[in-house]
Symmetry: C3
Amino acid sequence: MPIALVTDFGTRDYYVGAVKGVILSVDPTASIVDITHEIAPQDIAAAAFVLHACYSDFPAGTIFLCVVDPGVGSNRRAIIVKTEDYAFVGPDNGVFSFVLKHSDAVYAIENDTYFRKPVSATFHGRDIFAPVAAHLSAGVAPPEFGPKISDPIMLPDIAPWQIEPNTIEGSVIHVDRFGNLITNLSADIAERRFTLEISNTQISKLTSSYVEAESDDPFAIIGSAGLIEISVKNGSAVEKLKASRGTPITLKFI
Amino acid sequence: MPIALVTDFGTRDYYVGAVKGVILSVDPTASIVDITHEIAPQDIAAAAFVLHACYSDFPAGTIFLCVVDPGVGSNRRAIIVKTEDYAFVGPDNGVFSFVLKHSDAVYAIENDTYFRKPVSATFHGRDIFAPVAAHLSAGVAPPEFGPKISDPIMLPDIAPWQIEPNTIEGSVIHVDRFGNLITNLSADIAERRFTLEISNTQISKLTSSYVEAESDDPFAIIGSAGLIEISVKNGSAVEKLKASRGTPITLKFI
Amino acid sequence: MPIALVTDFGTRDYYVGAVKGVILSVDPTASIVDITHEIAPQDIAAAAFVLHACYSDFPAGTIFLCVVDPGVGSNRRAIIVKTEDYAFVGPDNGVFSFVLKHSDAVYAIENDTYFRKPVSATFHGRDIFAPVAAHLSAGVAPPEFGPKISDPIMLPDIAPWQIEPNTIEGSVIHVDRFGNLITNLSADIAERRFTLEISNTQISKLTSSYVEAESDDPFAIIGSAGLIEISVKNGSAVEKLKASRGTPITLKFI
């Protein structure tokens, strides 16, 4: 089965190699898929979003190994999140905030039978998460790794707030390579009249494609993650709006 | 069969993951090979060159998925380019300019049976190109996807111009990581006496290897893509010559 | 069997694609694993360290293809380093300095039967090392490629120097993405009282995990490669200490 990787390891060190080596040592038949290793160091929210936006495109049975782990070596838990079709392995720090909504069960990883020994204080990606993912891939059942838990950590602020019946306060939750601003406002606003305000700029309609945009003014579009995105034709909304992750965006239905 | 990827998605977003997930969902036996996701955003010419320079090293049967797609969401066509040994899937925007010279047939992709639904306005890499490549890999014949076309788009200026019987006007078509300038002048000049002029610098012989170069002056060498390259020993021709893609280079036979 | 890649090719050019294509053309069953292509251009020592720090996590039988090759086209040798469990293929320039300590035999690569033809002057990664690695993977025995040699090149300074009975002069041998300084001092100092001095900063104890560190002062920790590392909690030791690879570190037992 595929084991798909989301990490902040970057690609110039030995960390990615070590994780892949451990996986293949446990399950030589595993099919390793790089999603990204370029999550900004320790940026849990970015990893949570990237995972959310692509996991459901993978075939049932895929195991996701997600290691953005600023608390490595502390007593933060290690967990397996199980949904109907998938398993997710990583630290219990919010990196699974989005997928937890669809989970059947969450297990704490405690059974060190399945760990690489000795377990270092600094690299649980290699020593705990990689071998657990590979043992899952090889057929070990999730309850073998530890007890069910009911209180996995969720990031605050991943969903927008409704502050009045007709006003929703959202924010930019991801900035992509092309300078698009991906917000936490879902695409279903498309059916009502609205105004969006971000960085003192007002946008009052959805544009249906990049090419339909008529100028270099920022426009709103339903992005491929099913969320409202703010873009600039042949340019960067990040630069045009001086926006970044966390920039607030206000939606008013009118 | 291998499905080899050339994109401008970068590696920090979910785009690469989504494309790989869709491929594996359609054809779980596909062997996904990353060529590059670091084509500069929307740089069609760079993708065309990278593809040209390595595709023939792959085994017969390989499918190339090439997504550099500034026109996504417009009415630009999606195409399959078929050569004797390979298939290429991507937008009809010039990204296949080099390989088209060797093609047997080009098909427009129109049969939405094979698309991921709903098709977004912003991410045809995931919604059209990836599933089509995977269905090709799974054995669907190219004509199943749509009609043959005869007018795929070619980039201008990928071949050098002969301006006099003894003068050829070329240009730099790629700059690599090491600062080498790859031109569109082919290696067969090696058999005649010549002068190359680039950025007011004259070069009149071919150097046979990097180590043979005697100084830090720029030198010409037959590169691994079969094209004349301008290099600097232990340095960067880009910096030394203040050159970049598009910089003209004049070849005179003497 | 896995063929694992360590190169300085970067990821924006065709070099990685060409190498992968050649491998799959020779051995379609090879499982290609990217360790890194982001070794700094021509940085042999960095590649040697990355390889050292992760190779033993791979399953027995893995072949490592390591191409950081500033001497390409010269008469530097091409070699296969064979250990009990692994084979390493690349230039004879010190890139295998660490793994040579564990080798059973080293072979010069001379038999051009196994090369991609014609062999270019600039890209032996594609023309020599990739096909040799793939033929090894396909079952060709190491002696088929050329004679045993006894004098492979070793980098100086990969091991620390003992300058007095109680003083060891080491250095930073790797800087990772997170700003950690990885030294060539091995973890067995943990059992004695000591003082470390680096960049005019003194450290006199080992911290057992990142989270245990109490301030933003630099601290020493046993890293995941089994070496002493200098880190800063929630920060970068590189920036805090103005250190880089080669920065000396002095260890005194007290």
